[in-house]
Homo-oligomer: 477 residues x 2
Amino acid sequence: MQALLDSLRHIVGSAHVHTDGDLSAWEQDWRKRASGKALAVVRPACTDEVARIVHVCAAFRSQQPDSGVSLVPQGGNTGLVVGATPDDSGRQIVLSLQRMNAVRKVDADNLTMTVEAGCILQNLQQCAEASNLLFPLSMASEGSCTIGGNLGCNAGGTQVLRYGNTRDLCLGLEVVSAQGEVWHGLSGLRKDNTGYDLRNLFIGSEGTLGIITAATLKLYPRPAARLTAWASVPSLEHAVSLLALAQRRLGAGLTGFELMGQLALGLVARHFPQLRVPFYEQSPFCVLLENSDHLSEAHARDQFEHLLEAALEQGCIADAVVAESLSQADQFWHVRESIPLAQPLEGLNIKHDISVPISGIADFVRATDALLQQAIPGVRMVNFGHLGDGNLHYNVQAPEHMDAAVFLARHEKQVNAVVFDSVTRFKGSISAEHGVGSLKVEQLEKYKSPVALGMMRAIKRALDPQNLMNPGRVLLT
Amino acid sequence: MQALLDSLRHIVGSAHVHTDGDLSAWEQDWRKRASGKALAVVRPACTDEVARIVHVCAAFRSQQPDSGVSLVPQGGNTGLVVGATPDDSGRQIVLSLQRMNAVRKVDADNLTMTVEAGCILQNLQQCAEASNLLFPLSMASEGSCTIGGNLGCNAGGTQVLRYGNTRDLCLGLEVVSAQGEVWHGLSGLRKDNTGYDLRNLFIGSEGTLGIITAATLKLYPRPAARLTAWASVPSLEHAVSLLALAQRRLGAGLTGFELMGQLALGLVARHFPQLRVPFYEQSPFCVLLENSDHLSEAHARDQFEHLLEAALEQGCIADAVVAESLSQADQFWHVRESIPLAQPLEGLNIKHDISVPISGIADFVRATDALLQQAIPGVRMVNFGHLGDGNLHYNVQAPEHMDAAVFLARHEKQVNAVVFDSVTRFKGSISAEHGVGSLKVEQLEKYKSPVALGMMRAIKRALDPQNLMNPGRVLLT
């Protein structure tokens, strides 16, 4: 083992191989659900170093198959499914991509940029902005998460409705295979039908098939204006009708459609009393809409107001307001983003990141709410999310006067079973945007089609026969 | 062999197993580049029959590995790379999906439709239209091609700029594996991060990994208006500048941006004298632009005119006209679509379907034109395509007074080498939208990264270890 560590030090320099001291920044996951023990944290500076690290580990593993040595790729360590931290065996090497944070190229005429895996998402947004372009991927963790992690998990976020998931924003990848070879697939092409879609296979594979070291990403012209509106709706069905109306009226201008349940907004009002939460007391749901316009703010406002008038006439909404200023728009978004921050202040809770077809979402919520109330009277549903994508963070909080720790200990499995069984009946997904990691790997065995799991296992064995890459994540070993 | 045919007859009924008579509709490819001999043409009516056919063939193959029996899935047989017709061994079974042509469901609230592989593309466009929705995939062969073939090849077409390739329009698949199992992956979800992206792996795999039997496809609200403009540009660089300007001004409204070279338009004028071809005599290139608007025709026209005025001022265009009526718009598109029809009337020619980053396209064309002129003085470049996607049909026609057959016999290999080497220098693709089939399978070995080819082979072996599914296509066996 010492020889392996010496080889790693030789590749990246001793200063970038950590084995002692406080390694919790790499060993503990973002939500503090798990804390492991790494054999080492290795921080390469370039693709060639990544390839040499993998090569050395693969060689070691083939000589000592029972050593248990394996690699855990890590970006900003902001994942939500315990997919990028080591287990407690002390045999896993965390391969941190954080030092690989160069923007290799911005090609404005091709509307692309080529960037390294360790680039922080917010830096990439700003980099695009500096060329008067837009990189639309956006999520709460954007100040810390890295694009390599976003790609590894196929992260979603708030702009999926218009621009898609991370997958849809990527044209090409550079990947180090489980054998330590480099695939130079950094294409800036919108069309390329020369064989199997390796790019999309690596995207979303959570580091289990290889290590993404760089990517060529799509850019867009910056919209001339971006306006935000807040509306209250009489029911979830009305929210779905509003979505259809907005899609018809605003076309691709509709870049955000976020749903927030009354209880979710109530938690924000309770724990952040300095925030003004509009309309929530009279309505079971509120919606945040965003309209991006390539012409002008006046044009955007005009369209937005026509839409909301029509929605009011049709009874889709009870009340609505278009933000008058950027600061008011920021305030609306701030309320939306404060929901996941208010939840832990209210106490531990059970989170879900599910999706169902939009046409079934109202029935799904009604049916599942009822099942949970029946199982645990007084249970509170903190329901919010990206309605435009059919993706809800359908979170479950203890009844008002039940101790949250007791609630979790007693009911977590039961609640998950009720929710996931219901999701399955509605032909949905038990992980819409967070991925599988180790947190949902057992659930996946239960809820995913055995034929699909069989194909996934065959692909894993084909590309990583030694099971060197992030073992036990996505698929049980 | 007779026992195998009997089993197939037992599964689909004797009327749907063809072994005698004129089978050229299935045995000869669309461009008449190759004609094979099938053991049988089998036409199942449902997914279960497809699964049973594959199962029976896999069992036969495992008993008689040297029999050479394999399956060639086929849709509308309109592919351009000889990927869906049998070889001349007499041992391949053509599995035609044409009888599986049901639309299983249109879900307007979810903006999806679930359809069987044998549905003809134009019928699906009309089906969406009947619900006042849009299925945007569109290409010259839409009256005959099937969605299963579109998915198998990840077909492109004229609306990629806004709506993406077929891949981007698909949310879920039903697939029969090489073992005859059915993967029920007909998800209507915009977000689903539960494991490897099997959907995109099957899309574009040209029937070599399994058989797509059905798909859930994205729909869009129908635009309120669609306008077409025709512009002449002083150079290819100006066309690229016009593209950037149009993307900025029209945003997602820009749904088409087709480039047409002077020689390409000259062939249309020569062979279809009844068509009026605007502006082409004064300019090296013309561009066809399409603006789709969700508000109104007046709004679309206003925006289009502002764009063209700005382009004229900036010198991007020499002249332009916005179609005054639907029939004038159709006439513009008709000219564009007549280019590939005029080419064979002028004589046999060498076709390429290449892409390069848009920022490099002008340099690519200049450099490659010069190399070809140097190699074959007087050679004529019939250059047209989807400039907005970086995708050119960069076709090469014999010099005016050279016999076309002689030209092909003497120069095809040389021309391909010049073009593909140049594409590779410009980091492009030798097959942007048509796929690999058997026509480009040898070229792929030369031009694709060996690391990528190695991964593709590993995946093929993992999912189809018997090499039962469309062998020799995409990858050499």
